[in-house]
């Protein structure tokens, strides 16, 4: 596992050994903006584009994919803008974007996993990160959320919490987190 500086001092990204690229690049280059990936993804989960959340898309995998594509392009620009604002002391900054990931990690104080959404009002996109300090985050995972909870969304249910815990251990092993502080 490695850490990559995507936007120095602001956004870092984990790279898992089993992946060719850092999570940030995997999401914005290989997943969320890849037509083949998106059409296959939505075609293999038709039950979710018919559910109460995404029913308005009319079980149209290409329409869902188009939504992700537009959202992803806008989100990448948005994150760059927020990082720039963070550098210049302007608002909104990255602190306004990421929200605490409740539930499992609700009682952690120092080690705070967070989540971020796409920019569209109804968005499939989720970024999961760890907050190091003000306006400094490590992207741990991300994906397409098809249901109201992580536990009921394919892909996310198997990966989000597992990866957050894995990264936590990596940060301890690399002395980026002081073990006694957890």
């Amino acid at each position: 596992m490695d850490v990559f500086a995507i936007i120095p001092d602001r956004i870092y990204s984990i790279k898992y050994d089993e992946e060719d690229t850092a999570e940030y690049n995997r999401l914005f280059e290989e997943e969320w903006t890849d037509v083949e990936f998106l059409t296959n993804f939505f075609q293999s989960h038709p039950e979710y584009t018919e559910n109460e959340f995404w029913g308005f898309l009319g079980n149209d995998p290409e329409k869902a994919a188009a939504r992700v594509l537009k959202d992803a392009h806008m989100l990448e620009l948005h994150l760059r803008e927020l990082a720039k604002n963070s550098d210049n002391g302007k608002l909104p900054d990255l602190e306004d974007y990421f929200k605490p990931l409740n539930g499992k990690y609700g009682y952690d104080i120092e080690y705070i996993p967070v989540k971020g959404y796409g920019v569209l009002e109804s968005t499939f996109l989720r970024l999961y990160a760890i907050r190091f300090t003000e306006n400094c985050y490590l992207i741990v995972y991300g994906g397409i959320k098809l249901n109201s909870s992580i536990q009921n969304s394919p892909d996310l249910q198997d990966n989000v919490f597992r990866k957050i815990d894995k990264v936590k251990q990596f940060l301890v092993d690399e002395s980026i987190i002081d073990k006694d502080d957890i």
């Binding site: 490695d2 850490v3 990559f4 500086a5 995507i6 870092y12 690229t21 850092a22 690049n25 914005f28 280059e29 903006t33 890849d34 037509v35 083949e36 059409t39 075609q43 149209d60 995998p61 290409e62 994919a65 188009a66 594509l69 537009k70 392009h73 990448e76 620009l77 120092e110 080690y111 190091f132 300090t133 400094c136 940060l171 690399e174 002395s175 980026i176 987190i177 002081d178 502080d181 957890i182």
Partner: protein, 146 residues
């Protein structure tokens, strides 16, 4: 302090040249990359709804299967000629020039219609709808004149 930021900076690697190049390319070409991907999705939908294979589409378009694969990737900088060829086959308008469309249908001798009626969402099919609507208005006017 829980996090050692100096240690983080020591450990953090810089993205590879390939990753930097990909990010730069995305930034510099974002507008047409998005359009190309949206066009690719329309072609995907056409193939799915018509149960057509990529080879059959290649034949209809008169291009190689490899070119169809490129079209479907959504990362190809398509020429207007290619886009018009696709439009002819899938019978769906992919690119619109809004001011041209408005100009064509605002006939001076017809009662002014609400703007909403002049917005086209379904390409050629809606083009026909508007023409039909205009004809109906024209015949009503004639009937009133009599």
């Amino acid at each position: 302090m829980a996090f050692n930021l100096n240690r983080l900076k020591e450990v953090a690697k810089q993205p590879s040249e390939k990753e930097r190049e990909e990010a730069r390319f995305r930034d510099e070409n974002r507008d047409w990359l998005l359009k190309s991907a949206l066009i690719a999705l329309e072609i995907h939908r056409y193939l799915r709804l018509n149960g057509m294979t990529q080879s059959q589409l290649a034949e209809k378009l008169g291009i190689s299967p490899a070119m169809v694969t490129k079209l479907l990737s959504g990362k190809e900088n398509l020429s207007l000629k290619t886009i018009c060829g696709i439009e002819r086959v899938i019978q769906f308008e992919l690119l619109k020039v809004p001011s041209y469309e408005k100009g064509v249908y605002m006939r001076c001798d017809l009662p002014k219609m609400p703007e909403d009626n002049l917005v086209f969402e379904g390409g050629n099919q809606n083009f026909c709808k508007v023409i039909k609507m205009n004809k109906e208005i024209e015949s009503k006017k004639r009937a009133m004149a009599v």
